[in-house]
């Protein structure tokens, strides 16, 4: 009888055994962490996606007129390229503090910084893409009566799309990775979890956030590839 009770007691404590993310165990991979801290992880991921998407879209919105301007005025082109490359040389950990006096410790700081980096890649790929349109095509379009705007929107941009999308993919994947550095101003998405994981030696948090970062980059990249396939049906089969 007593033996049975003892056996039952021996089995019971397993319910409040230290979970795999407690200080004693500190596993790298831990399912309990995922379930227990779900809302925290989801919040960080949503913030990460939000910052990345806004930054890339902002970068694209600025890059587009800049590229058109650079194309129209060749003298400005080297200046625009030099300035954007200069920005790219500035390390992100240095760029964010430089922006803080203007934008404060907000998500705006991170978004602007990342948009500046994305801008560099996007301006270049837009210019390369537009340059890749054959002159004959442009001439035929003009012959068919296309004006400047129509030529750009309906002929040049669609043909430039493959190169532009390649640039967009590079910019997006880089931005996902760079967003983590935003944890310096407390808006780093999954970077916040990574930073916390280092400071508190919390392996499950650190590992989960790192893996999610890479996953996010891969998923966004795949989505862009998919978008490109949908947007440029004519390139399928005739791979150039």
């Amino acid at each position: 009888m007593t033996l049975l009770v003892q056996a039952a007691q021996a089995r019971l404590p397993s319910a409040d055994e230290p979970s795999c993310y407690s200080r004693l165990v500190n596993d790298w991979v831990c399912g309990d962490y995922l379930t227990d801290r779900r809302s925290e992880i989801v919040d960080a991921t949503v913030q990460h996606i939000g910052i990345t998407v806004v930054a890339v879209v902002l970068g694209l919105l600025i890059a587009f007129p800049l590229a058109l301007l650079a194309r129209r005025l060749p003298r400005l082109e080297s200046a625009i390229l030099a300035v954007t490359t200069g920005i790219y040389t500035v390390p992100s950990l240095a760029l964010f503090p430089l922006l803080v006096p203007f934008t404060g410790l907000t998500a705006t700081t991170v978004v602007i910084g990342l948009a500046l980096y994305a801008l560099t890649i996007l301006v270049r790929s837009l210019l390369e893409g537009l340059r890749s349109v054959p002159d004959e095509v442009r001439e035929s379009a003009t012959g068919l009566g296309y004006g400047r705007g129509g030529l750009l929107m309906r002929i040049e941009l669609p043909l430039a799309l493959p190169v532009v999308m390649a640039g967009l993919r590079v910019a997006t994947v880089s931005t996902v990775a760079l967003t983590t550095v935003g944890s310096l101003v407390a808006y780093g998405g999954l970077g916040n979890l990574i930073k916390d994981g280092v400071l508190t030696n919390f392996r499950a948090e650190l590992f989960t956030a790192s893996v999610l970062c890479v996953l996010l980059a891969v998923i966004l990249d795949a989505l862009l590839v998919l978008a490109q396939r949908v947007l440029t049906p004519w390139t399928r089969g005739v791979r150039t």
């Binding site: 080297s78 430089l98 996902v176 956030a209």
Partner: protein, 258 residues
């Protein structure tokens, strides 16, 4: 903007430059780390990439290495290396645990641009040039040393240039995991709400990054064989530009800086 006057005050005070955690010492640390990592990456990556490029094999792997490298956040890799129980030592030279983690992370991050550019450089040597070399009776070794390497050198150096600036930038991030280097000034200033100091650190890092970039660009121009003979000059463009996203290099270059 009082932060900027704070920044100037910090930068112009000689006391902040000297000492074991002064700007000069940290700058030295970061330069040492940067160049050690770059040399290690060169020793590891260059021979392999050049050889594969010479043979014309393994291109798929070379290109994909850089794509994977881009998706892994530097910060995450550094953090994992610092917290992980391996690589063993708690002290490595003067920098401690975070120093070794930084060195490993920096070396890994220098590899993709070096490997892809070296590979592409070998592949982009014009086929007729290669054929002419073979027609002159050159052996594979002679072809490599006398034709392919000199012609491909600007692109190889462009990869080194990209890696150098990138490693310098990444070395700053080491401070987020209590590593060595100038990033310490930035994070220290930040976490103690001494923004002037943080921005001072950022200015020094950015200035050195630009200097390194300019020096590397000069080195790149110096090794360009087509420039020496004055045959072609491609201002502000062409395939030798490390950041351009075009044809063969669409997937290969343009790594995030830190």
């Amino acid at each position: 903007m009082t932060v900027f006057s704070d920044m100037w005050a910090y930068l112009s005070d000689p006391a902040n430059w000297s000492g074991s955690d002064g700007i000069a010492a940290l700058l030295g640390q970061q330069l040492l780390l940067t160049f050690t990592a770059l040399l290690m990456a060169m020793a590891l990556g260059l021979p392999l990439a050049l050889w594969l490029g010479h043979l014309g094999r393994g291109g798929f792997a070379a290109i994909n290495i850089s794509n994977i490298g881009r998706a892994v956040p530097t910060f995450a890799l550094l953090a994992l290396l610092v917290v992980a129980p391996w690589p063993g030592t708690d002290s490595f030279g003067p920098y401690g645990r975070a120093g070794l983690a930084t060195l490993i992370a920096l070396t890994l991050f220098a590899l993709p641009p070096i490997i892809t550019n070296a590979y592409v450089a070998m592949r982009e040597v014009a086929p007729d040039v290669r054929e002419a070399a073979r027609g002159m009776g050159m052996t594979g070794r002679q072809q490599f040393w006398q034709v392919e390497l000199p012609l491909g050198l600007p692109l190889v150096v462009s990869g080194l240039r990209l890696a150098l600036v990138q490693v310098w930038a990444t070395a700053t991030i080491a401070a987020l995991v209590a590593g060595p280097g100038l990033g310490q000034i930035i994070t220290d200033g930040f976490f103690r709400s001494n923004y002037g100091k943080g921005i001072a650190g950022a200015v020094v890092v950015a200035a050195v990054a630009l200097v390194l970039e300019l020096l590397a660009a000069m080195a790149q121009r110096a090794v360009d064989p087509t420039r020496r003979t004055g045959a072609t000059a491609t201002p502000g463009g062409g395939h030798d530009d490390a950041l351009s996203v075009t044809g063969a290099t669409v997937e290969s270059s343009a790594e995030p800086v830190g």
